[in-house]
């Protein structure tokens, strides 16, 4: 527990350090508009990354989330446009994301395929389906009531931030204080030991992948509301940042170690970096480079701290 607090503290410190540096480098940084934007950006990343955190806690991986967001957002957009009902569109997006999550879970538990390759195959199936279904079209112009989900404010704070806070609170309690949650950690730490001590491993893995899909569905709704338009390629830049946020947030790739609050700090750190690039006039084309470096750095830190812990044990 103490080590966890130290780890989280060092990450919060790096967030503050980065923020101070940006405040010194750019006058535009410390404006309430910019800070709220960073918070909104971090919320969007967190929504996707929170589900991935659960999956990585079980030593699995979900590479299909970006493609999931794209298909779910496009389905939601189509249904909302054709029926004119916000609720139906939202329900479609959530259902689509969840269904993909269930399929991912079944591939891992029922068919026993390695998660990184089965969700990678899923990525391309979803990608192809979305491009085929949209055939180059853009769907745009949604009712204001819906758009408020992504770009609206409540008491001066962006709506996605409330969604993030809610998911963090519910998810945090779920992961830390319920038997379900502890079983997720147990599976990640040692699958065989968890099975022998009576954890229903398959059922929990199914749940985790389903949640990851459902969170991608929710993120798709918020993302759609924010962009006010749906295109087949909207999910492509989302997968790498989500995984980067989880890893830089201290969740170990090898399972069993990590937390949702860590992922939130990771999402904030990432949003700060991207915002900083923006303020310093670095084109967003360079983003994959920066996220790639962050993924590798985070993975290296994970390995070093793991070896450190093993050496002490």
């Amino acid at each position: 527990m103490r080590a966890e607090i130290v780890a989280l503290g060092s990450r919060v410190a790096s967030v503050l350090l980065l923020a101070t540096a940006l405040a010194l480098l750019s006058d535009a940084f410390l404006t309430s508009n910019n800070l709220l934007n960073i918070l909104r950006q971090a919320s969007l990343t967190f929504l996707i990354a929170s589900g991935v955190t659960l999956v990585i806690l079980t030593a699995g991986l979900d590479l299909s989330i970006g493609a999931n967001v794209a298909l779910s957002a496009c389905m939601a957009a189509v249904v909302m446009k054709s029926t004119g009902t916000i609720a139906l569109g939202v329900a479609t997006g959530l259902a689509c994301g969840t269904a993909i999550g269930i399929l991912n879970g079944l591939m891992v538990t029922l068919l026993r395929l390695p998660p990184f390759i089965s969700t990678y195959g899923m990525l391309w199936m979803l990608h192809g389906t979305t491009y085929w279904y949209m055939s180059g079209e853009t769907i745009y112009g949604f009712p204001p009531g819906f758009r408020a989900l992504g770009s609206g404010y409540l008491l001066g704070i962006p709506v996605p931030v409330y969604l993030m806070a809610m998911c963090l609170a519910v998810g945090g309690v779920f992961v830390r204080y319920t038997t379900f949650g502890r079983e997720i950690y147990a599976i990640g730490a040692n699958k065989e030991a968890a099975r022998l001590s009576g954890v229903p491993v398959r059922a929990r893995l199914n749940l985790v992948y389903t949640l990851s899909g459902a969170m991608a569905g929710l993120a798709a709704i918020v993302y759609l509301a924010r962009l006010n338009s749906a295109e087949a390629d909207i999910g492509e830049p989302l997968m790498l940042p989500a995984i980067a946020a989880v890893l830089i947030g201290g969740t170990s790739l090898f399972g069993g170690v990590g937390s949702l609050s860590g992922t939130l700090v990771g999402a904030l750190l990432l949003a700060l970096v991207l915002n900083g690039m923006n303020l310093l006039n670095i084109h967003s084309n360079w983003q994959p480079l920066v996220t790639g470096v962050i993924v590798l750095l985070a993975a290296t830190i994970d390995l070093i701290s793991r070896r450190h812990a093993e050496a002490r044990a």
């Binding site: 590479l63 390759i117 990678y120 192809g128 360079w286 790639g292 993924v295």
Partner: protein
């Protein structure tokens, strides 16, 4: 082979000689990626960065050519960039111990960011006549790209089955412990496998740039998926270092025929990717059934 017959029945233009040659030309780049991917998967690894590295090498090649550099010089530079990424992948996976799919996801981002950032997302055109002339040429009647793919296959086949390096590659995935105990520098060979992946991706960039007559930063995105699909369909397994290079040859042809046949039937390329996704899952499934049986 069943799909060959099927496509031939559905559409007469499929079985024409120009179209069959076309399949070979289109599959050549894929072959260059699938060959090292076979060795990487045999070593219980994965390389998700190949498409992005191919793209970046292509940008280096096209940019140097557009600035008046000679073809050999530009090619050496492109091969150097690809090789550097291969070495980086190898070091991250073998020396640092980062899981291969995460390590190569990171380098994917780096290569793609460099390619898109440096070009602003635009194609590099005006690459001169040397590369198009080379690409359009024939060696003893065989189109250049098919000749390159064939030489690459034969070389790698020889290396894998006739040299100590090949034996070590099988052992890295199968029984690394024994290899190390026998005094073989397993780490160096393991890094060598990933290095080969980067080098071959850059060689693929030569073919793709020649075919497009331009360098495009994201033209090869996702090509690694076709390569992985070809390897898995060809019967190489993620576990225990089971690999079969002739299987990969057939796998590449399968993917090439599938894409071409669907093209002839006017199925959009997006649905082609989706069907290859299904193919991968089915192949994995058959493999895991076979292992359990």
């Amino acid at each position: 082979m069943a799909e060959l017959v099927l496509f031939a029945i559905v559409d007469a233009s499929f079985a024409s000689i120009p179209n069959l040659l076309n399949i070979g030309i289109q599959s050549a780049t894929l072959m260059l990626l699938a060959l090292p991917m076979t060795l990487i998967i045999m070593s219980e690894g994965l390389d998700l960065s190949m498409g992005a590295v191919l793209g970046l090498s292509g940008i280096v090649l096209a940019t140097l050519l557009a600035r008046g550099s000679t073809l050999p010089l530009a090619l050496i530079a492109a091969l150097a960039v690809g090789t550097m990424f291969g070495v980086a992948n190898g070091v991250l996976v073998v020396k640092l111990g980062i899981p291969p799919f995460i390590a190569t996801l990171g380098t994917l981002g780096i290569a793609q960011g460099l390619a898109v950032g440096a070009t602003g997302g635009r194609s590099v055109v005006g690459i001169g006549d040397a590369l198009p002339a080379l690409y359009a040429g024939r060696w003893i009647g065989v189109p250049f790209s098919i000749a390159v793919a064939a030489i690459a296959y034969l070389t790698l086949h020889f290396v894998l089955y006739q040299t100590p390096f090949g034996t070590y590659v099988f052992a890295i995935g199968g029984n690394r412990e024994a290899l190390t105990l026998a005094g073989v520098r397993a780490d160096a060979y393991h890094i060598g496998i990933y290095t080969l992946g980067g080098l071959m991706a850059a060689l693929g960039a030569l073919l793709l740039t020649g075919r497009m007559n331009a360098g495009h930063p994201i033209a090869a995105i996702g090509m690694e998926f076709d390569a992985i699909a070809a390897v898995i369909v060809g019967g190489t397994s993620f576990e225990r270092g089971n690999g079969w290079l002739p299987g990969t040859f057939l796998g590449v042809l399968t993917i090439g025929v599938l894409r071409n046949g669907l093209n002839v039937m006017a199925v959009p390329s997006s649905l082609q990717s989706a069907s290859i996704g299904v193919l991968v899952i089915v192949a994995l499934l058959l493999d895991s059934r076979r292992r359990r049986a």
